[in-house]
């Protein structure tokens, strides 16, 4: 009987002591995580012991086979032995292990990394004559390869489904030389640094929150030149906590087909240039504010020349709680023959929020976008006025794949009826 009372007393003492000492915000998962950490530590120690044993055996065998020459011994000591004042003396075995790890993490040149992006889409709208159904999005391969400590190559190719096959296109091909953080020079074809989205999200729908890019910067569109062939300098601007940076480019600009860049050569003797300045203030981590200017001369047909000025501004908050993206652009065209001018405007505002529940997999979003173009602008023939809303949600199935579902309500053109549509996409990277 007495022992039962003693047991009860001990139990109550123990639980009360534990409750008194445990930290208040403890979560139910902490003991599990702690035990996992301890287990990992034990396993790491065990691996170290086994590796040491293996190395001892190897050294014993090597020693029996051939003694090292004095030169070899000296070289090894010079590389691996730390200065006595910097670290406690380490054994030869530890030095050997260290060199192995260093070799494993050494940068090798070239070292090609390839990442693929793909998406499968479904769409249905109430627009007259439209057909609902599935379609394959772009199949995209991104390539990155450091060629030396200061020279890197980046490439991007896309395969786009067409009724008669697939279109293969080189979307970006860039060789970049890094002098330092303030000056990096690249040559090739890149996404024109006008505004935020075009240079932040590339071909690969998984990278962006929504199913599609805003209409003003859609691939294949003509409102803003999305690609640029030439030379670009970029870097940080010494500005302390303001976090200023810049991009300046000189290149071919638009080809005679205005939706394309001049990959195979310029359409005239005039070079296009672009300048972009942005700030990422240290005090507001996640905030970026930028402004861009683009200048080109368009020659859609021989004898037809238009001056083009694009001015743009953007404000983004890149954290996902919330995510806020807003861009505005004005495109000014001037006919060099008649001196007639046209100004077209476009903007979008996108708001998203990564919900904290269910491992933060859900991200609802909303975007409003607007385009206005003078009806008689002879250059932006394929651009229609637009006023549209997109309401959707993204669900990240894993770290590398997502489902997206959207409802869109938009009006394309003047006095046209509004169109409702449902869009679904699964986008992934591999």
């Amino acid at each position: 009987m007495g022992s039962r009372w003693l047991l009860l007393l001990l139990f109550s003492l123990t639980t009360s002591a534990l409750l008194a000492q445990s930290p208040p915000p403890a979560t139910p998962t902490e003991p599990t995580v702690q035990s996992l950490l301890n287990r990992i530590q034990q396993l790491e120690n065990r691996i170290d012991q086994l590796e040491d044993r293996e190395r001892k055996q190897e050294t014993a065998q090597a020693g029996a086979a051939a003694a090292p020459t004095p030169a070899e011994t000296t070289t090894q000591a010079a590389v691996t032995t730390p200065a006595p004042t910097q670290a406690p003396p380490t054994s030869h075995m530890e030095e050997h292990a260290s060199m192995g790890e260093i070799r494993d993490t050494e940068r090798r040149f070239p070292s090609l990394q390839i990442r693929g992006f793909g998406d499968v889409d479904f769409s249905a709208t109430d627009q007259k004559g439209s057909v609902s159904g599935f379609n394959l999005g772009q199949f995209v391969l991104h390539l990155a390869s450091p060629l030396s400590e200061k020279v890197s190559f980046f490439g991007e190719v896309s395969f786009t489904a067409q009724p008669t096959g697939y279109d293969l296109s080189v979307e970006r091909t860039i060789i970049r030389y890094d002098y330092n953080d303030y000056f990096k020079l690249s040559f090739g074809k890149y996404h024109t640094p006008i505004g935020y989205w075009n240079a932040a999200f590339h071909h690969g729908a998984w990278l962006q929150t929504t199913i599609a890019r805003p209409e003003m910067i859609k691939f294949g569109g003509t409102f803003i030149p999305t690609h640029f062939v030439g030379v670009e300098a970029e870097g940080n601007i010494p500005s302390g906590g303001l976090g200023l940076g810049y991009n300046v480019g000189l290149g071919n600009g638009r080809s005679s087909l205005l939706s394309k860049s001049g990959d195979s050569g310029d359409s005239n003797d005039n070079r296009a240039w672009v300048a972009n300045v942005y700030a990422r203030p240290a005090r507001f981590y996640g905030l970026q504010v930028g402004a861009s200017v683009y200048r080109d001369k368009l020659t859609p047909e021989p004898g037809q020349n238009f001056g083009e000025w694009i001015t743009a501004a953007d404000v983004v908050w890149t954290k996902e709680k919330p995510e806020f993206l807003a861009e505005y652009a004005n495109v000014h065209h001037r006919d060099e023959l008649t001196t007639n001018t046209w100004d077209s405007q476009a903007f979008y505002v996108q708001l998203a929020y990564r919900l904290p529940w269910q491992q933060s997999k859900w991200k609802p979003y909303y975007r409003y976008e607007y385009i206005h173009k003078p009806e008689d602008d002879p250059t932006l023939v394929n651009v229609l006025d637009l006023s549209g809303s997109t309401l959707g949600v993204r669900y990240d199935i894993t770290n590398y794949a997502a489902f997206k579902g959207e409802y869109r309500n938009s009006r394309h053109g003047v006095n046209e009826p509004r169109v409702n549509g449902a869009f679904f996409q699964t986008a992934f990277t591999f």
């Binding site: 910097q86 450091p146 954290k319 933060s360």
Partner: protein, 162 residues
Amino acid sequence: MTTHWKFASRIFALSCLCLALVPLSAQRHDVDIAVVVHPDAPVSNLNLSDVRKVFLGDRQYWSTNIPVVLLIRAPVARERDVVLKIIYQMSESQFKQYWIAKIFRAEAATAPKVVYSNDMANQLVTAIPGAIAFIDSKDVKPGSKVVRVDGRLPGEAGYPLR
């Protein structure tokens, strides 16, 4: 009776073990995370925003000839949790997505290198020029170059990385 006493003594021993582990666990969560750099890196004091800039890949060179080499512990390590929470302010999946986008946006050539233990971090940070790592301040090897963050060293009041 003897059986009961045996049982009671086992409970008592278990209770003592639990009581001993609780303060150990609490201590582990209080340990500061040191920012350690290669001895040749020309830096000794960084603001938290500078550390963030370095680890976000926005600052990629200590000087013209010394590129920054980022070392970060593998998932589950406490050092990584602290870095993700305080420096990146991202979840594990956001961190992965951030670096995929960063590399293929052509803004960085490589992602941070993953290290699997503090021993490995200690060895690599002293061996690779330009390397920077986060190491549990208790595991930092003597003689390593520990950077002040916001003017404070690990263990000092107001040190931001813990």
